[in-house]
Amino acid sequence: MDTPSSATAISAVNVRKTYGKKENAFHALRGVSLDIRQGESIAIVGKSGSGKSTLMHLLALLDTPDEGSIRLDDRDVSSLRAVEVNKMRNSYYGFVFQQFFLNGRQSVLDNVMLPLVIGGVRPAERKKRARAALEAVGLSDKIKNRANDLSGGQKQRVVIARALVNEPRIIFADEPTGNLDTHTGEQVEQMLFDLNKQKGITLVVVTHDPEFAARFDRQIFLSDGQIVSESGAAA
C-alpha cells in the first residue's frame, strides 16, 4: 500500500443518499463504502435505477451525501470550501456524462475548450491543448465543424477529448458507450483504457455492459443502493 499506484485517491465511507421526503422518500444509496486507488480502473455495474449515477456523482464531488462521507487525502470533503471543490473538479477531474452535453451550435474546438475557459487558461494555450486532445481522439479534421454536425460516435469522442483536455488525474464516465454501436463502442473503450495505461489516469466508469465491465481492474456491483459484490484485483 506504499507505492504511489496504490495510494487512495477517493474513498466513500458508508454514504447514504435519499431523494424526496417522508412517504415519498427513495433511498438511492443505502450505506456504500468504497476506496478508489490512484491509477486503477473501476467499473460500477448494476441494473437501471440501482444508484450507479448517484454514486458516481458523489465520488465526483458533484453532489453531497446525506449521511457518511467522501474523503480526499484523508480529509472529509464536506469540510472543503466551495472554491476548493470547484478548483478540484476543474483541474483534476474529467467528466463524461450519460448524455453528450455538447453545445451543438458551437464548434468542436469550442466545446472541447470549455473546461480550460472555466479554468481561466489563456486563449492561445487553450487552443493548443484542445487541438492536442482532439488529435488524441482522432478528430483533428473536425475541429472547425459544428458539434451538431457530427455522428454519435464522433460526438462521444469529442466528449472524451473534453474530459481529458485539462489533463485530469481521474476521469468519471457514465455509460460512455451506451449510445454507440459495438464497433464505435469498442473504439471509445480502447481510448479510455489507453489513457489509463499510458497516462496513469484513474478511471471510474458506470456501465451495465458485463463484457465492458470485465476489462476493468475492479468491478463494483450495485443493487438497490448497496454494493452486493466486488470482483477484480483488489477485492
Binding site: A82, N90, F101, V117, G119, G120
Partner: protein
Amino acid sequence: MRFADILGMASGGMWRNKTRSILTIVAIFVAAFTITLTTAIGAGVSTYLDKQTDGFGAPNLMQVSVAAEDDGDGPAVYDPKAQTNFGQTVSTLTNADIDAIAAIKNVDSAVPFEGSSPSYIQTNGDKFVLSSQQLVRGQTVDVVAGSAPKEGAQPEIIISPQYAIALGFDTNKDAVGATVTLGVSDPLQQVQTVEAKISGVMNESLLGGGRLWVNDTLQDKVTAIAQQGLPAEATDSYFAAVLYAANTDPETMTQIKADLSDLGFQGMTVEDQIGIAKQIFDAITTVLTVFGVIALLAASLGVINTLYMSVQDRTKEIGLMKAGGLSSGRVFSLFSIEAMLLGLWGSVLGILAAWGVGQAVNQVAAESFLKDLPGFDLMLFPLASLAVIVGIILVITFLAGTLPARRAARLNPIDALRYE
C-alpha cells in the same frame, strides 16, 4: 474564468435566441429614445433660458413698474397722471418715485427706463422701423461682432443680424463701426434725425422682444427730441425703472420686493420673468420623462422574462459548466452581464437614434419656428447626461437580471444535468 470569456459567453448567450433578445432590446430602445429626447429638449431649452437670464442682466438687477390694479373691484378710477398709450392707460413712475425706490434698504441705485424710441433706422437706402431702449448698467447682450454700446460721448447702437442685412451690410463685421441715421418724431409728429455709430451686432434674445440697444448719449438725444417743448409734468414719466440690489441673497430680494409693494410698485428680476416659462416647461419635460421611465420599467420586465427563459434554455449548459468547476458567482455574473448587455445595446441604439432625430429637428427648427431666436438649439445632448442615461439603464437591467441570474447561480449541477 477570464472576464473577456465571461463577456463573450454572455454575449453569445444573448444572441442564442435572436428574436427574443431583439424584442427586449427594442423595448429598452424605446425607453432610452424617449428619455434621451426629453432630456435633450430639457437641456436645450434650459441652456437657452439660462443664457437669456445671464445675457439679459446681472442677477442683482430688478425691473420695477407700478403694481397692476386688481380689477376684481370693477373699473379703475380715472387717473390724469396715467400715461395713455394707444388708448390703454399705463401707470407710470415719476422722478420722485425713483428717488423713493433708490431709498429702499439694500437698494444701491435706481434708474428710469426711458420710453422714447426712434421711429426708423437708415444707412443710405430704405428706412426701417425699430424699437430701441437704453442698455442699462449690468445688462449684457449676446454679442456676435463688435461690442455692446458703451456709455460715453459718442452715440452708439447695437443691431441684430437681420438689421445688418436690411441695412445693406454683407457681413455682421462690415456693420461694426458704420454710421446710421435715426429718425425720431417730436411731439408735433415732425421727424428729426440723429446720427449714431453701430457698436456691434448681437443675437436677438427672448426677453429683448426685438429691441435694439443704445447707449446713454444716444438715448438722451432721442428723449430730447421726443419730448421737445413738453411741460415738465409730461416728461417726468417713465413706464419702468431698474434698480440695483446691494446683493443677490434671496432674503434681500424678498425684502426689496416687499418694500416695493408697500410703495405700490412691483419688482421682477430677470429670473422671475423667465421663471414662469421655465416652470411650465419643466412640468412638461417631467411628464415626458415619467413616460420614459414607465417605458423603462416595462422594458425591464421584458429583461426579467427574457433572462428567465435564457436560464431555462441553458439549464443543462449551466449544469455542465458548474460540474466543470464554474463557481456560482461566475454563473451569476454571466447572466447579469447578459442582462446588462441587453441594456447596453438598447440604450446605446436608443441614444444614437435620439441624437439623429435631434440633429434633424434642430436643423428644421432653426430654419422655421426658431428662426428668430438664433443661438437656440432646441435639443442638446451633453455627453455627461447621455452617460448618466446609459448608466441608469445598466443599473436597472442589472437589477432586473439579478432574479434570473440568482436562479441560475443556485442551480445544483446534478439537477441541471438531469433536467430534460
